[in-house]
């Protein structure tokens, strides 16, 4: 069980996450929703300890994550795998090497620096890549792949970390609708088959309602909603998203250009 207690992150005068408190049972698929700038990314990054929390604690199965140092901290980072909006692969390394990055916490430093990977770790990496039908491009440079392919490589990297939790930070924000499905389905499959907890930042309410079994709504750094998707009424959603509500609640452009009123000049700046 992952428990977040009074987590606060400040950058200078700005408070990105403000007294966040919640707990997540093993095997949950949690969606974190809210406007851009609401603190969703910082929340996930502070759980992985990419960002140092200013106050509060993160507990995982009795371990105080916020107090970890050195090797223990690196091991925790491997156990709480991050997936990023911009994939964060090493573009100049080939695809399989990128996936093997997920084994770094386990492999000894000299072996990894000389790239003499143990057979066991190589087998895991190859299996993970093949699971996404990506072994055909294993020897290519990661930056030669399309966005959807890169995100699949990133998910494979997360999986070979053998994580307990996957923290996905807007994983589909730079992808087209088809790849969005592929990536979200992959996360769901990982969640249901292997029982790995997934905490996923999402901008789109539609996706959050479809995939998640619990939603956390964030606004100005605070958690203002915590419940099942059905409990998220349109009224609450409108409060969460304010002006952006129409855009995130599934009124796609195909539903009729006629119905869209031309915004007044200056509306974009509001």
């Amino acid at each position: 069980m992952l428990q977040v207690e009074g987590l606060t992150c400040r950058f200078g005068a700005k408070t990105a996450v403000d007294q966040a408190t919640f707990s997540v049972e093993r095997g949950g698929f949690i969606g974190v929703i809210g406007r851009s700038g609401a603190g969703k990314s910082t929340l996930l990054r502070s759980i992985n300890r990419l960002v140092e929390p200013s106050e509060g604690r993160v507990m995982f199965e009795g371990i105080d994550v916020t107090a970890l140092k050195g090797n223990d901290l690196r091991r925790w980072r491997a156990r709480s795998a991050m997936i990023f909006q911009q994939f964060n692969l090493v573009g100049r390394l080939d695809v399989l090497s990128n996936v093997l990055m997920g084994r770094l916490a386990e492999v000894s430093t000299w072996r990894s620096l000389l790239q003499i990977w143990p057979d066991k770790d190589k087998a895991i990496a190859i299996s993970a890549l093949e699971q996404f039908d990506m072994m055909a491009v294993a020897a290519q440079r990661a930056d030669s792949l399309s966005g959807g392919q890169q995100q699949r490589v990133a998910i494979a990297r997360a999986l070979v970390q053998e994580p307990d939790v996957i923290l996905a930070d807007e994983p589909i924000a730079s992808l087209d609708p088809r790849n969005t499905r592929i990536v979200m389905d992959a996360l769901l499959r990982i969640n249901k088959h292997f029982g790995i907890t997934v905490i996923c930042n999402l901008h789109s309410l539609d996706l959050a309602r479809t995939y998640c079994d619990r939603l956390l709504g964030m606004s100005a750094g605070r958690i203002v909603f915590d419940g099942v998707p059905a409990a998220l009424t349109d009224r609450i959603a409108r409060e969460l998203y304010d002006l952006e509500a129409g855009e995130v609640m599934g009124t796609s452009p195909e539903q009729g250009i006629d119905g869209v009123a031309v915004p007044a000049l200056g509306a974009a700046m509001a």
């Binding site: 080939d94 399989l96 190589k122 087998a123 895991i124 190859i126 299996s127 993970a128 093949e130 699971q131 072994m135 294993a138 020897a139 999986l159 070979v160 970390q161 053998e162 994580p163 990982i190 088959h193 292997f194 029982g195 790995i196």
Partner: protein, 294 residues
Amino acid sequence: MPAAVPKLPDDQLDALAAAYAGATAAKRRHVFIGGILLVLAVVLAAWSSEVSITKFSENVWRFPAYFAGTIPSISLATFSADVAEWLWGIKRWLRLLGDTILITYLGTLAGAIGGFVLCFLASANLVRSPAIVFVTRRTLEFCRTVPEIVFALIFVLAFGLGPLPGVLAIALHTTGALGKLFAEVVENIDNKPVEGVIASGGNWFQVVRFAALPQVLSNFVSYALLRFEINVRGAAVMGFVGAGGIGQDLIEAVRKFYYTDVSAILMLIVITVMVIDLVTERVRHRLIGMESDR
């Protein structure tokens, strides 16, 4: 709970691993062959130029012996008097050292401006015409392959004794050295902003100013500061050929076997370089810090 990644059957794994090994074999072969060629070239170079380890080990003691000869005799009893005697020319040396730093400053500034102007013309990603890139690169090469001291000698013949030939020599050499480094920084920039500015209708100068420059400026500053530090050393020997600065007293002391003067002047140069190193490091961190604050 099953493992996060179900392992494939062994035969399938082996096939996939073999395919990957095959696809990366060429690259590994190139690295291997390159490594062997490098070792062979080192051995060949040492053998043909008669760099002999035995000669080195037999004569290596001579080198510290010279330095040992330059150490002044300073006793604790008459400490201040001894030091004063050792540094008898401190006033003159400090003035000459000041000249040296001014020569360095002017030369580096002029050279950095020259390198800045030329580097964009030498960047293959910004300039369409291979001819312009080729000519600019060869010009920069000429500027940096001729040693500063040779330039200084030529300029002394043209402009007479004094700091001016020293400044010109350092400026020319710095243009060549920084121009190349700057051009390489420019060639490594992200092309997306360049496309953005071109797509908005920008001309070449606007592309350089708004797409390239913001990406490279911090690197330019670090290279220029490093060059300033290197040039202090370069300027210290300008005086050897009469191009100004502390070098003229240093070469005189070496030629006339004024041993303790040599050590005094060298010590002053080392201290100066250290101080400049500390100061430029601060300046650089300041600039980088300002960048990351934004």
